[in-house]
Symmetry: C3
Subunit: 260 residues, 3 copies
């Protein structure tokens, strides 16, 4: 299986899938192609949340503001999975979630060693010309054999990316809004465990008070709640409404949680 994730919208992902289908019969699974444009951090967050639910696969992931510059390209092996991505940190949070040990390789797409590379490769669409053929090649060789593929060599140094960690205090936590989902739920980096014992009470997020509840429907329609989302983190939501608007919090904002 090969999964595909990008911020490409439509119809560019179809060109990547065509390139892959010319090289392998692997099953294809779209994770998302509407990741927030050129936002590596939010892309890394969504990959970390979704990829662990997928069977062992090669994951093609492209959020790539540096396309065509001298930024590198990597394959990160994580157990039976491999993530093929620009060397901008995008792959690492997901890889570390999948496996305790991750092993990065470098895609030598300029050196001419890779027999998998599109010829000629454009400067503006490496998803199609570099990453898609590399993902197909890794799938065909098998994740265990990634190091034997011409043009793919162990990487001594890669761009790291760690999603921000929250600080826990006696009466709350200070974290960050990692993403806002399509429902308008604000997903923080604060672990849901901090709410244990707080259900049926209230809490404040950046000074805005809301009920602490396990389910959206436990508050009246249009009312705010603070809950534990499906990713296990504290989430700011509105039953049948948008949490981001009701709390005034967007991706990347600091989130200060306080309870009585």
């Amino acid at each position: 299986m090969i999964t595909l994730s990008s911020d490409f919208g439509s119809p560019y992902p179809a060109a990547m899938k065509g390139v892959i289908a010319k090289r392998t019969d692997a099953r294809l699974l779209d994770v998302a192609h509407d990741l927030p444009r050129q936002d590596v951090g939010v892309g890394a967050f969504w990959l970390r949340e979704v990829l662990p639910y997928v069977p062992p696969a090669v994951h093609l992931a492209v959020v790539d503001p540096g396309v065509g510059t001298d930024r590198g390209a990597v394959v990160v092996r994580a157990g039976e999975h491999a993530v093929v991505a620009p060397d901008n940190g995008l792959a690492l949070p997901a890889a570390r979630r999948i496996a305790d040990e991750v092993e990065p390789f470098r895609l030598d797409y300029e050196g001419g060693a890779g027999d998998w590379l599109a010829d000629p490769a454009s400067s503006t669409f490496h998803g199609r010309d570099v990453f898609a053929p590399a993902a197909a090649r890794v799938h065909e060789a098998g994740v265990d054999a990634v190091g034997t593929i011409p043009g793919i060599t162990p990487a001594t140094e890669v761009v790291d990316l760690r999603l921000p960690e929250p600080e826990l205090t006696d009466d709350g936590a200070v974290g960050e809004a990692l993403a806002v989902d399509d429902f308008g739920n604000v997903i923080t980096n604060v672990p849901g465990a901090v709410l244990e014992g707080q259900f049926q009470e209230w809490a404040e997020a950046n000074g805005v008070r809301a009920s602490v509840r396990r389910t959206y429907a436990a508050v009246a329609e249009g009312h705010r709640l603070i809950t534990v989302g499906s990713h296990g983190n504290v989430e700011l939501a509105v039953n049948r409404g948008r949490g981001d608007e009701a709390f005034g919090i967007d991706t990347g904002d600091r989130v200060s949680l306080r309870w009585p």
Copy 2:
């Protein structure tokens, strides 16, 4: 084959697909993941219109404003098809369109009897943790054997949902706008047969006059028409424009049709 329908947007459906792909090699077919948010009636309408065109399959359908509450979960068998959904009526109009007799089963996702259930299951994403594993399990057992699966038992009572029926009169009909599609076409519940003999004439919808025609292009660009849509019902449209805006009618509105 397993089809997937939801109001989840992106990328949550990919987690459901991953969960399924870990359990079965079934082909996956997306019906829609942009169903109107938390609107069970419109979701039920679209499932009824699309699922009959699909080969025998297990249909995973999640529009679920009550997720995490004590609302139940069902599998509705309809001939060679089965719909796995929250017990909120979502599955029934499609199931009844597919087969004359439908047979509901209950998913015991809290009793611990289901060997298929994700452990632990979240309170906020039953699509991933309850319905997706159940759909995979039903697919693997076969629709005929659904009653033999641990944790799936015949249901004596389920939440029913019937889409509203129109009233036909001598010079028209009074119905409801069941949905507005992405083109802006207003799809009513009035059967297209009432227009027989009216083509090349005009009619009124809520007092707004328009030509009755078989095809959009039979009126000039930007002009209103009343036609029979691909679902067989009366549809209010504009050639190369939006019918909902031109007629001032939205989903759920009463639609009064009158002809000369």
Copy 3:
């Protein structure tokens, strides 16, 4: 493999896929279902850019403002590929890009000769009732055998569509904006080769000056650039922004390029 392209949004494409899946086990690949609504020229452009990257396949393509009128329906054979589409020119630019010689056939969907046709066929959704079953039938017969299928006969005349050609001058070029992609990049019909020797210089597009660069990130964030896009044509862009807004140019506009 069968690819699908349309301006249908959601969930109508799922009905097409169901119709196909009832007739063949062919792999399905979505190219796009958000092609600009009823714009045959832009649809033809995107098909031309994407389909050559796909392995030999039957390509179902529906942008069809004339649905239900007496416009015809075609299968255009191009090497090992075939494009099934309304007879409005949509298929031809892609077919010509794939193969030097293209061979058009007519789908006799009204004459009753086609054993593949849905019965009854609606007047408003030929994607589901005419083109999807025809694509499945062509796939099952094989592209080489398309002429042996009942109801599919050699076409003597089809609606042609050629994308506009640019004029090259001594100090520039005059072309047209063929499309704007989801990033806001303006894709012109001017071949990228005209920029050879201009990189590290500037140029003007409709009087708006911008750097000529090979990659988006070669200019500062928010700055305009003129580059060669992944389709090989001159593209007007903004690093991490929208070129269409910064240059004031939309699909179909004349683009006058001038360099020093």
